[in-house]
Symmetry: C2
Subunit: 193 residues, 2 copies
DNA sequence: ATTATCTATAGATCTATAGATAATGC
DNA sequence: ATTATCTATAGATCTATAGATAATGC
């Protein structure tokens, strides 16, 4: 029954990874510890050897998801800095992202849940938001001559807010055409030709 | 124990009103039927005389909250059409709204929950989104000469998306200064002097 | 000997229902 | 007589824990 320390560490990571996916798909209360552990190929009781509580796992799952999300942005910036903004925005405001919340933006999928049921996760959201604003500020087009540093940060914040709001709205409506229109409208607004 | 039909109808409305507030504050799974009924001054068992299930109440609570939200916008437009946009945006992107989700925007507070646990509520979100886009389109400034009807609708959608995303982000972070900065940045972006 | 995992279960909570109660409405 | 509400509870589910098990690590 017992596994090596190395394997135990891998199991722990797998639990966090599965939780980061399932919390985004089903919400904090939408998935139980038993099913999370089943998703990781383990049994219910083993959970508490790895984590003190379900909420502790939520905190780690948020950190994990936020880091993965940031890593994706950094990879796009590193591979082609000139076209990073359309790559990030286009990927974010896609029907694929809308329909796969489990691997998508943590703010859109877990932000509301984290704010109200898991205050311990909020520092991670704070740090991630700061980094996302900084990355966006770097890849924004030069814009008007009045583009002060302050103005660029403002624009970076507004850009990310529009992305998150578009995703929340696109997922909340029942009409496929309207949902796609929301994604496209915000994309057009953020990426003028 | 029994009350008049009139009183029973009022009790039903009160349950919906309390639910619309508590679902926004605590989420669908964050409040139980017993506590919802206690909030309405009734006992647990009486609930099922009014509603077939908790999810049915969620649907009505979403409709109620969305209608109230739309009514607030319409009132602002009716009282002063010229300054309706700054009134709507300023009210929405306030710390007061951020700190009182129970009476605030249903999309920001319940959109994610409704999308995943209460598909029956999605038609209400769809209709409300359409009406909010239409109202915003009417109060947007005339803008550039290339302001076609299509372009104006796009801008209305992007405006509401930015508002919703700003609220979700402002509530998810732990840092009061950053939270206020998010609200102010989007406000400045949507309401250029 | 230590410990990662498993089986089993305690204790709490939640939705929904059954049956009793008492005031309304015909 | 009807019915809106109340009391009480069934049945399911969920978090967390206790104790057993068996493989690792010294």
């Amino acid at each position: 029954m017992k596994v090596s320390r190395e394997q135990a560490a891998l199991n722990r990571e797998r639990i966090v990874d599965v939780a980061a996916r399932l919390f985004r798909e089903k919400g904090y209360d939408g998935i139980g510890v038993a099913d999370l552990m089943k998703g990781a190929g383990l049994t219910h009781g083993g959970f508490y050897g790895h984590f003190a509580s379900k909420e502790d796992l939520m905190i780690e799952a948020c950190q994990h998801a936020l880091n993965q999300s940031l890593e994706g942005w950094r990879a796009k910036i590193a591979s082609d800095p000139q076209h990073a903004l359309p790559a990030i925005v286009g990927n974010y405001l896609s029907t694929r992202h809308r329909d796969q919340p489990g691997g998508g933006c943590p703010a859109a999928a877990m932000g509301v849940d984290a704010a109200r049921m898991s205050p311990g996760a909020r520092p991670a959201f704070t740090q991630a938001a700061q980094q996302q604003f900084a990355l966006l500020q770097d890849v924004l087009p030069d814009g008007a001559p009045d583009g002060t540093q302050e103005r660029r940060r403002q624009q970076a914040i507004a850009t990310f807010a529009a992305m998150v709001g578009a995703m929340v709205l696109a997922r909340s409506v029942d009409d496929e055409a309207l949902s796609a229109e929301i994604l496209d409208a915000v994309k057009a607004q953020l990426l003028p030709d």
